[in-house]
């Protein structure tokens, strides 16, 4: 009889509490949204599944080697989290390799002014950074400097960068910052358009931009190499992200290693995405989520996205005061990264005013600049805080 009681006590059925049940529901909602609405399915589906798995009680699947006293007692996602993220942090750079192999710097090179929009949109990072620190005035010891930086970087709207920085500076909130970053990236079609409409006039949204020049293959190879050298000389801590981005891009642009390009942009990127997203999901355990801090991070993440969008649009309007060939301020919002979703939103918003206005190519400039900008900010945060 005692064996039966022991067995029952070892089942999840007798160990599940209401918080686990809510997290299971959250996991199911993410899975549902990913499948039916196709919201960032490559991220939200594995994250949702990870949440489902980890919140089933007593699986021990996310116990890390440091908690268990060795790898043998650790769970598979604990091991992946430990070696792939918090200890070695290799998964985000691997994802950047794949992103690099998919990125086209052409729109950026053909219209260099758009780099400024990418810079302006990074204001969201600092707004959320100060917002997180400012909360400590109301409740002492809410967020440390490292946590504030990890929350701020959500405003960069770049999942791997958020994970990379959080894993280094605030591994305790990694799962939360990552999920919030990806959730808001998925929600960009809902967050950005109202702000874009509010900050621009119909006339501004109708601006048709001059076609940009064609960029040669040589330029497409020289630019990332120069960018790599300049950025890493100034911010060496950004090397894991920037170097992998450039390596992947040179693979693609050189055209001489199609197998490597394909491996980086398909197999490697997909494997890293599976491991990373599942592991991020398994970091969202009920006892970590049901805290006031999580709600605050949710709000701050939204503030970061909104501030980044606002910064990009307002700076585009400011630039128009001095430019002969006006730029459509809608492309400023693409500076928050979220490649290529944010660029698509700019394009669609432009087409709503003028169906013959094709902004996608123009918006990809600030979009790619945003990726570089947020990686640079992450590098600076690491240099100063890490």
């Amino acid at each position: 009889m005692s064996e039966l009681v022991d067995f029952l006590n070892s089942t999840g059925l007798l160990n599940i509490d209401w918080r686990d049940a809510i997290m299971l529901a959250v996991g199911l909602v993410l899975v549902f949204l990913a499948i039916t609405k196709q919201w960032e399915p490559y991220e939200l589906l594995p994250i949702g599944l990870g949440i489902l798995i980890v919140n089933l009680p007593l699986t021990g699947i996310a116990i890390s080697p440091s908690e268990s006293g060795g790898t043998q007692g650790a769970g598979i996602f604990g091991v992946i989290f430990h070696y792939g993220l918090s200890f070695w942090n290799i998964l985000p750079p691997v994802i950047f390799l794949g992103i690099g192999a998919l990125t086209d710097f052409g729109p950026l090179i053909s219209n260099p002014k758009t780099l400024l929009l990418g810079a302006a949109a990074q204001i969201g990072i600092f707004v959320a950074f100060w917002g997180a620190l400012g909360l400590n005035f109301f409740a002492a010891d809410t967020f440390s400097l490292g946590e504030a930086a990890s929350i701020g970087i959500i405003g960069g709207a770049d999942g791997p960068t958020t994970i990379f920085l959080s894993a280094n500076l605030a591994p305790d909130i990694l799962g939360i910052t990552a999920v919030i970053a990806y959730t808001y990236m998925a929600a960009v079609p809902f967050i950005q358009p109202p702000i874009m409409k509010l900050l621009t006039t119909k006339k501004e949204r109708s601006i048709v931009m001059k076609p940009v020049r064609e960029v040669s293959k040589t330029e497409k190879m020289i630019f990332p190499i120069i960018a790599l050298i300049i950025i890493l000389l100034v911010v060496p801590r950004a090397a894991p992200l920037i170097s992998m981005l450039v390596v992947g891009n040179i693979f693609k642009e050189s055209g001489v290693v199609p197998r490597l390009t394909s491996a980086a942009s398909n197999e490697l990127l997909n494997i890293a995405t599976i491991l990373l997203m599942l592991t991020v999901g398994t970091q969202l355990q009920a006892d970590l989520v049901f805290r006031l801090e999580t709600v605050l991070i949710l709000v701050l993440g939204l503030v970061a996205f909104a501030a980044g969008t606002t910064g990009g649009i307002l700076f585009a309007k400011f630039m128009n005061l001095f430019l002969k060939d006006k730029i459509n301020p809608l492309i400023g919002s693409a500076g928050v990264s979220a490649v290529p979703m944010a660029a698509r939103i700019s394009h669609h918003m432009g087409q709503q005013e003028n169906p013959n206005n094709f902004l996608l190519h123009h918006a990809l400039g600030p979009n790619v600049a945003g990726v570089i900008g947020s990686a640079v900010v992450a590098g600076v945060f690491l240099s100063l805080i890490g």
């Binding site: 090179i109 780099l115 990418g118 005035f137 100034v234 570089i372 900010v377």
Partner: protein, 110 residues
């Protein structure tokens, strides 16, 4: 190797990552300073680097455009030379035809 030294707040109050507002007066002030420094350096570095990359892109574009226009000008010159050559050749052919037709006429007049 040259190393820069300055009394940053982190030296005063330990690892800034562990510092929090409101813990006590000294730490709070140190953290505010550290946050200000982080913001200034972070934003400044990002903006400066992206401006440098913008200048690099402009320069690359200028070189590329200049090179392309030079190349197209050279090819235009080549084309016009070729056209002159063609016209000259055509003139020679026409002249020879006219000459031969005159001879033909002369021959027929006999």
């Amino acid at each position: 190797m040259m190393e820069l030294h300055f009394d940053s707040p982190s030296l005063v109050a330990g690892n800034p990552n562990n510092l929090k507002f409101g813990s006590n007066g000294a730490i709070s002030e140190a953290l505010i300073n550290q946050s200000l420094i982080t913001t200034a350096i972070g934003a400044g570095t990002t903006v400066c680097l992206l401006i440098i990359l913008m200048i690099v892109s402009f320069l690359m574009g200028w070189v590329s455009t200049t090179f392309t226009s030079l190349t197209s000008k050279t090819s235009q010159d080549d084309e016009s030379d070729k056209a002159d050559e063609n016209r000259a050749r055509a003139a020679v052919v026409v002249a020879s035809i006219l000459k031969s037709s005159k001879e033909y006429d002369r021959g027929n007049s006999n």
